[in-house]
């Protein structure tokens, strides 16, 4: 180290600013010779026995390598040390070898055996680094050895070594492309690797070796999507870019349907007179596509959705490259309505280093041309600061120009006005051009812009004036007849403007449009003729030009003047001017000798010149994949993979299916295939057939939950393969399946107690009835909400297949589709029967409990069942609360007394059903009773006042409530896990009432199912501040466990955790001599899903201990109070 620094000092001294390169040049005198000496002693040091000397020598050598000095003559001395024990020496030798082995291949071979030994080392780091160096030294002879080593390493136990193998693949490929086929085999093998460590590197290898072999990805597609979030950031970039290309070949264009809808709007957006032909073509194409789309409605492939969903969180990455990769993926693959999410993330990147800004702005510029709306809200983020580098300024300007439209143009122009005064003249010129483009694109401001630009003509800066004249010229060329006054104004300006370029441009304009200003133009020529000799050359040329044009149009007035000017020019010093004069005289002045050309002089000079097109340099750049080097350069870079067009018809999606264990395979895979096949037909007729079929799907899933738990597993398997629960990867599933299998029996045991304790009293019929009810009614409403969702998303995004919920709906549709096939009916009855059997079984096993069944428990049962169903990864929000019959036992609260309500009385209760439109909301069931003598109309909510963060889903307006009638409605409130009241006005057609709903803390949670072990584990994590313990003496009536359970569940919407020992909760065996049973209850808060765990441990003589564990301490404290009250009363 010290030597290297000494060396640097010396070098630092020698390399003055003037002659920086001498220090590096080995051929230059003194330093060269000193190098020689140094090499000798270096060799000596390398040969010594001391590691410290070797290390010192290697450090100095590496320092030479780093500075680009030639150290190749040390190769023999260095290579000997490759087997050195000291790890640092070894590493430095590796560094040296990689640098020089290519030049000295024969000598390099000496080191190979060491690496081969290293490949067998028990230490994975050594194995990996041996492979790394072996594959990096680029010696052609050892290709077979490398191949062998890579193959071996690809099946190494250590994922780190496998990663190194993946890195070695492109190295070998670049050394010997003939190994491609073998290497592809290795890639295929590594692609199947399940560790995140390998994923990025192998995809990189794939991209370098065989990017065209897209078929290798099929089987790994879902795995890659699911692993993505855990891959290291660089791997993420590569994988996302590859998957973008993959998706373009495998899925259908999600925007296929709206292209027609949007087209009208788009045309007005881009005042694109210039590319009308192109547009027409486009239109034809689009129309074609649209008709196709009509025939076959677009349904997003669940795999496509999976990709979009799993990449979205990466927009929050700290790595700009990852954010950009996701942004381009969304831009190229997402439905239009969803692309917007990337804007915020890209704007965030503008805070980063200027290089990042530069690249991001380039991409934003391209995006703004296609999707202007996306960035409009962020307009101000593109405002320019005087300290920005010029290249950033110009790009921001580009974006601002692209974003300009009728509504924001005034702010943009005001902003531009400040830019024009900038000291950075290149930037000013760019601003003027930007104004010109705004003026051409937005008709309304054309005149304003023109006037502004005309004022700029008096600017002192030549560049500014020249640029404005040029832009004005372009603008005038569009509609010259309208702007003769500006031409006149410019003609006046010629007295004041001294900048030759500007004078020349004005003269050209007057000449070109002399017919619009017939009176002024001869006068201008007169003036110019006077000053001709003093003008600059370009001005002189334009004077001649003007003279010629005037002569042709108005020879009467200007003949003499023209002659005069031409005579002056004839004797000019500049030969160009003399030539021009001679040429023009010949052309326009008819003489005997003049040829045929003079006849056409007028046509030659006054031909209609096409208006220049002012368009963004970023137009059409999006045919390059965004974020790529090629896009940035607007030219194809080597190795760039074209982004393919969407396929007309989607390739078979089943190629992405992965083998799953035998016993789940049959059920899930076949089902899916059916669905896929039927998809298009049924999604069409979904409207009518929805309700009945949805009943089926319920029976199906209910089946899964309530029958044998085996089917539970297969159920969940098939569900998540539908990619509904995209987060579960297939492998995980496999593993889980196995686990589940093991757990199966356990669960069965645990299940029983729950159900049984819940259904103690309910008779068979009741049970049946309830199930029927739940099965049919809620389902119906489910499909209603589904369509509701559709409407919503349609209105939001003018496009139906966009929303998350939509994709769920789609999946449901598919499910329905599959089941509504002819054999569906039997399936349905099957389901019922099975269920019946189930309940029979339940009740046969255990006799009805002696104590009377109370309805709160009843509802508790249903809701806990619901959560059980949810646990089976059914689509969330299964039951709609709308149809739950008001149950008298639920505690009702008064919302509006009938006296204050003038006859209208309103009560509400918490129905404890999941609120289907939004899982984060608590369902509130409201019962309206009209006690008045007249009808009440238009009952609805208004003026909702909430604490920040809270949200309300209003109940649908009740149009008519006849006198004496009662009706119910359901609304959802997201209380944000607080007991703050939701205030709103209840309006009838005549009156408004201020009311508020305040939830008891127990209603802010929903029950979840936990096993005892899980419960204890979770409890273990919620100790300390999160735990509240209270001692109490139980009420006398409340000493059997049933009442305890009942009271707790009435007080709070929790579900009971089945106890480890069966006897505890099975009533048939009457409460066993209690060794002080412990009752556990679990739930999650509705909004934040924080766990709420309640434990009631009974002791002798009615003493008990109540423990509440909850992350939200406030909720915990309040809950303790409530339960305490419930138990002691």
């Amino acid at each position: 180290m010290s030597a290297s620094s000494a060396f640097n000092d010396e070098k630092g001294g020698s390399s003055s600013v003037g002659e920086p390169e001498y220090g590096h040049d080995p051929a230059s005198g003194g330093i060269f010779s000193s190098d020689y000496k140094r090499h000798d002693d270096l060799k000596e040091m390398l040969d010594s026995n001391k590691d410290s000397l070797k290390l010192e020598a290697m450090k100095r050598i590496v320092a030479m390598v780093a500075r680009g000095k030639n150290a190749s003559d040390l190769f023999p001395a260095v290579v000997k040390n490759v087997a050195c024990k000291n790890i640092e020496v070894k590493k430095l030798v590796y560094v040296y070898l990689v640098r020089y082995a290519e030049e000295q291949q024969d000598l390099a071979l000496l080191s190979i055996s060491t690496f081969q030994r290293g490949l067998k080392d028990p230490n994975q780091l050594i194995r990996a680094s041996a492979l790394r160096v072996l594959s990096s030294i680029r010696v052609t002879i050892i290709v077979p050895i490398m191949m062998l080593a890579i193959k071996e390493a690809a099946s190494d136990m250590s994922p780190y070594v496998r990663k190194t193998a993946a890195h070695a693949i492109p190295k070998l490929y670049s050394l010997d492309p003939e190994q491609k086929d073998q290497l592809i085999e290795v890639i295929e093998k590594l692609l199947a690797d399940k560790t995140t460590l390998v994923a990025g590197s192998v995809v990189m290898a794939f991209e370098e070796v065989c990017p065209e072999r897209i078929d290798l990805i099929h089987k790994n597609y879902r795995k890659l999507c699911n692993l993505l979030i855990d891959v290291e950031e660089w791997g993420q970039v590569v994988i996302i870019n590859m998957l973008t290309r993959y998706a373009r070949t495998q899925f259908l264009n999600p925007n296929i349907n709206e292209s027609l809808l949007e087209e009208g709007g788009e045309k007005t957006f881009y005042g694109s007179e210039e590319d009308e032909d192109e547009d027409d073509e486009d239109k034809d194409k689009k129309a074609e596509v649209a008709t196709m789309a009509k025939r076959k409605p677009y349904v997003m492939d669940p795999d496509h959705r999976l990709l979009l969903r799993n990449t979205k969180p990466l927009l929050q990455s700290r790595n700009a490259a990852v954010v950009m990769a996701v942004a381009q993926l969304y831009f190229h693959l997402a439905p239009k309505a969803e692309v917007g999410v990337i804007a915020k993330a890209l704007v965030r990147l503008l805070r980063s280093h200027s290089e990042v800004q530069y690249v991001v702005l380039q991409n934003v510029a391209t995006m703004t041309i296609k999707r202007r709306g996306m960035f409009e809200p962020y307009l101000k983020s593109f405002y320019i600061r005087s300290t920005d580098p010029t290249q950033i300024k110009v790009l921001k300007l580009e974006v601002l120009t692209n974003l300009a439209n009728e509504t924001n143009i005034s702010t943009i122009l005001r902003e531009f006005q400040t830019y024009i005064k900038s000291m950075d003249k290149d930037f000013v010129a760019a601003t003027i051009q930007a104004i010109g483009r705004c003026a051409t694109n937005i008709g309304e401001v054309r005149d304003t812009c023109l006037n502004g630009l005309v004022q700029l003509l008096s600017n002192r800066d030549e560049l500014v004036v020249a640029e404005s004249v040029v832009v004005i010229k372009k603008l005038l060329q569009m509609q010259p007849e309208k702007h003769s006054d500006i031409i006149k104004h410019m003609a006046k300006l010629i007295d004041n403007i001294q900048v030759p370029m500007a004078r020349a441009s004005i003269l050209w304009l007057i000449g070109e449009y002399c017919e619009h200003v017939p009176k002024i133009s001869p006068d201008v020529l007169r003036k110019m003729a006077k000053s001709f000799t003093n003008e600059e050359d370009i001005v002189k040329l334009q004077i001649i030009n003007l003279a010629a044009k005037l002569y042709l149009t108005n020879s009467k007035q200007t003949k003499l003047l023209t002659q005069y000017v031409l005579n002056l020019a004839k004797y000019d010093q500049n030969y160009d001017i003399r030539d021009r004069a001679r040429f023009i005289r010949q052309l326009i002045v008819p003489t005997e000798k003049s040829g045929a050309l003079s006849k056409y002089a007028k046509k030659l000079f006054l031909a209609l010149k096409p208006a220049p097109v002012l368009e963004s340099p970023f137009k059409d750049r999006d045919h390059f994949q965004l974020g790529s080097l090629s896009h940035l350069l607007n030219a194809k870079a080597g190795g760039y993979q074209e982004l393919p067009d969407w396929p007309e018809a989607a390739p078979d999606p089943s190629v992405r299916n992965v083998e799953v264990p035998e016993w789940t395979k049959c059920s899930s895979r076949e089902k899916r295939k059916e669905k896929k096949v039927e998809k298009p037909f049924y999604s069409d007729s979904e409207g009518e057939s929805g309700p009945t079929e949805s009943a089926d799907s319920e029976s199906d899933s209910a089946n899964g939950s309530e029958s044998v738990s085996g089917s539970e597993v297969s159920g969940s398997g098939s569900e998540s393969e539908e990619s509904e629960e995209g987060s579960e990867s297939e492998e995980e599933e496999e593993e889980e399946d196995e686990e589940k299998d093991k757990k199966k029996k356990k669960k069965e045991l645990k299940k029983k107690p729950v159900q049984e304790s819940e259904s103690e009293q309910s008779s068979e019929e009741e049970e049946e009835e309830r199930k029927h009810e739940r099965k049919s009614k809620p389902r119906k409403s489910d499909s209603e909400t589904e369509s509701g969702d559709e409407e919503e998303s349609e209105s939001e995004s003018s496009q139906s297949e966009s929303d998350e919920s939509e994709s769920e709906a789609e999946v449901k549709k598919k499910k329905k589709a599959a089941q509504s096939k002819p054999p569906a009916k039997p399936v349905k009855t099957d389901g019922k029967k099975e269920k019946k059997e189930m309940s029979l079984l339940d009740l046969d096993d255990f006799e009805p409990a002696p104590s009377p069944q109370v309805t709160p428990v009843n509802s508790f049962l249903s809701s806990s069942l619901v959560t059980d169903l949810e646990g089976l990864s059914l689509s969330d929000s299964v039951l709609s609360p709308a149809t739950i019959a008001p149950s008298s036992a639920l505690k009702s609260y008064e919302l509006l007394h009938r006296i204050t309500g003038e006859g209208l009385s309103v009560e509400y209760c918490f129905s404890r059903q999941p609120f289907s439109p939004d899982a984060n909301m608590v369902a509130v069931q409201i019962q309206f009773t009209n006690n008045a003598t007249s009808d009440t109309k238009n009952l609805h909510m208004e003026d909702v006042k909430l604490q920040s963060g809270m949200r309300v889903k209003e109940f649908p307006e009740i149009e008519l409530l006849p006198a004496g009638e009662t009706t119910t409605a359901v609304m959802g409130i997201d209380f944000c896990d607080s007991t703050q009241a939701a205030n709103f006005q209840l309006c009838t057609h005549t009156r408004k009432f201020f009311v508020s709903i305040q939830p008891p803390v127990g209603e802010l949670m929903r029950p979840i199912f936990l096993t005892e072990n899980e419960f204890k584990k979770e409890q273990g994590q919620l100790m300390g501040m999160n735990e509240i313990t209270e001692r109490l003496t139980l009420d006398v009536k409340c000493r059997n466990e049933h009442t305890i359970v009942q009271r707790v569940t009435t007080a709070a919407n929790l579900s009971r955790v089945p106890c480890g020992s069966d006897k505890e909760c099975s009533p048939p065996v009457p409460p066993p001599p209690p060794d002080h049973p412990v009752h556990r209850f679990a739930g999650r808060t509705v909004t934040s899903s924080s766990l709420v765990l309640v434990t009631v441990a009974t002791k002798e003589e009615g003493a008990a201990q109540l423990t509440v564990n909850c992350e939200k301490m406030v909720i915990g404290t309040m809950l303790v109070k409530d339960i305490l009250q419930a138990l002691t009363q």
Partner: protein
């Protein structure tokens, strides 16, 4: 991907080169140097250049150019982000990232570069992992190493590489366990001549320093997380948890790191802590101008404004200035034409003022634009957006760590147009 890396100082010397594939002659840098010569400011060198056979992607950091040579298609941001990561790593290892310090530690730099890229593809970029493989140089260690002959290079694969939390070292041990979080907010604003806000937003960052033993699992929650509009996280933050509960849950890396950056939702009005009254004018005749700047407190939330500094990039024609400052000192750099007025603490009773005359090169045209003022300031103990950390909990370890949260507000790109 990344073929070679050249480090070039601002005068154009290539003082380090590293190749990950075959060697590329340093002649390739000539294209870059040519462009650099033409660009007046180093910031104006385009980050991506095309040469006949290569593409050059460069960044400019701490007066050094990091120039990478690329041969095939690669996302430019990938390279740029990586180069910045390299610079960050140097900074992290050596305390600063300058030519002399890189030359002094050339071997460590080389070892680092070797670990960071393999065949041009990033390998280990997490500072915690790199530090396990190559120990940062300290005086003590170099002494110990020379005595004992041990080396700076680890011989074990860092456990982080293989785990799901590659950012954390294994077996961390401290006697004092502490975790500090700095909530730093920057106000980006453009004010127009009359002091009206053209554009203002708040960008925040939470810098963390954790020195905790074992595998602590931290949870950081905010009083008002809804203020946060757009966020980006260190990879350690569990995104799902944030989505559902607005809580930052993470197993932190060891040492310093940036936990998150955020943007405060734009609906909130941004409090501008100071007002600026300015009058800069150049006279038509007499080749001189006048400057008068006053800064006073506006919305400071009762806190002291410190580190106040005004920077003015004067027009090229301004030869010299003759000013008097009622508080603080001013300097005018004749070469770069930058006027810096370092005020220090803002006295609310007596707003600091800078006034005097500017002398303009005689004969030169009157400068057309008045220069913009860049303002720097600092307010301790205040997050201007009102963001507050609610609590920090630690799970997974038994000990009680010392926890601290600090707030600070700074001016980011704060510009006043004149």
């Amino acid at each position: 991907m990344i073929h070679s890396l050249f480090l070039i100082n601002h005068t154009g010397d290539i003082f380090l080169e590293k190749h990950w594939k075959s060697v590329i002659s340093r002649g390739v840098c000539d294209y870059f140097l040519e462009v650099k010569e033409k660009a007046v400011e180093p910031e104006n060198v385009p980050p991506v250049l095309q040469t006949p056979h290569h593409y050059l992607i460069s960044i400019y950091r701490d007066k050094l150019f990091f120039l990478s040579v690329i041969q095939t298609e690669v996302p430019p941001l990938f390279v740029i982000e990586f180069l910045h990561r390299v610079a960050d790593t140097f900074q992290d290892y050596f305390g600063e990232c300058s030519e002399s310090i890189i030359k002094d530690n050339v071997v460590t730099v080389y070892e680092l570069l070797e670990e960071m890229l393999d065949n041009g593809f990033p390998l280990a970029t997490e500072s915690n992992i790199l530090k396990e493989m190559i120990k940062p140089p300290t005086i003590l260690r170099s002494v110990v190493n020379t005595l004992t002959g041990s080396s700076n290079v680890g011989d074990k694969l860092p456990t982080g590489q293989l785990s799901n939390i590659p950012w954390r070292r294994a077996a961390v041990k401290y006697t004092n366990n502490e975790a500090y979080f700095d909530v730093i907010e920057e106000i980006d604003a453009i004010l127009d001549k009359s002091g009206m806000t053209v554009f203002a937003e708040i960008q925040g960052v939470i810098e963390a320093c954790t020195r905790l033993s074992g595998m602590p699992d931290l949870t950081l929650s905010f009083m008002n997380p809804r203020l946060l509009d757009d966020v980006s996280f260190h990879p350690c933050v569990r995104f799902k948890r944030w989505e559902s509960e607005r809580v930052l849950s993470f197993i932190p890396p060891d040492g310093n790191f940036t936990l998150m950056t955020y943007h405060v939702s734009s609906q909130n009005l941004v409090a501008i802590p100071v007002y600026v009254k300015q009058n800069i004018s150049f006279f038509e005749t007499g080749s001189c101008g006048r400057l008068d700047i006053t800064i006073g407190p506006k919305q400071t939330m009762g806190k002291m404004v410190e580190g106040l500094m005004v920077t003015v990039h004067m027009p090229k024609a301004v030869l010299s200035v003759n000013l008097t400052a009622s508080q603080g000192n001013y300097t005018y750099d004749l070469a770069t034409k930058v006027l810096v007025w370092d005020i220090g603490k803002l006295n609310p009773q007596k707003p600091p003022n800078l006034r005097g005359t500017l002398s303009v090169q005689s004969g030169a045209p009157r400068p057309e634009e008045n220069p913009a003022l860049d303002i720097k300031l600092k307010i301790q103990q205040l997050a201007i957006s009102g963001l507050k950390v609610n609590r920090l909990d630690m799970y997974g370890e038994k000990y009680k760590p010392f926890k601290g949260v600090k707030y600070m507000t700074k001016a980011g790109k704060f510009q006043v147009r004149t």
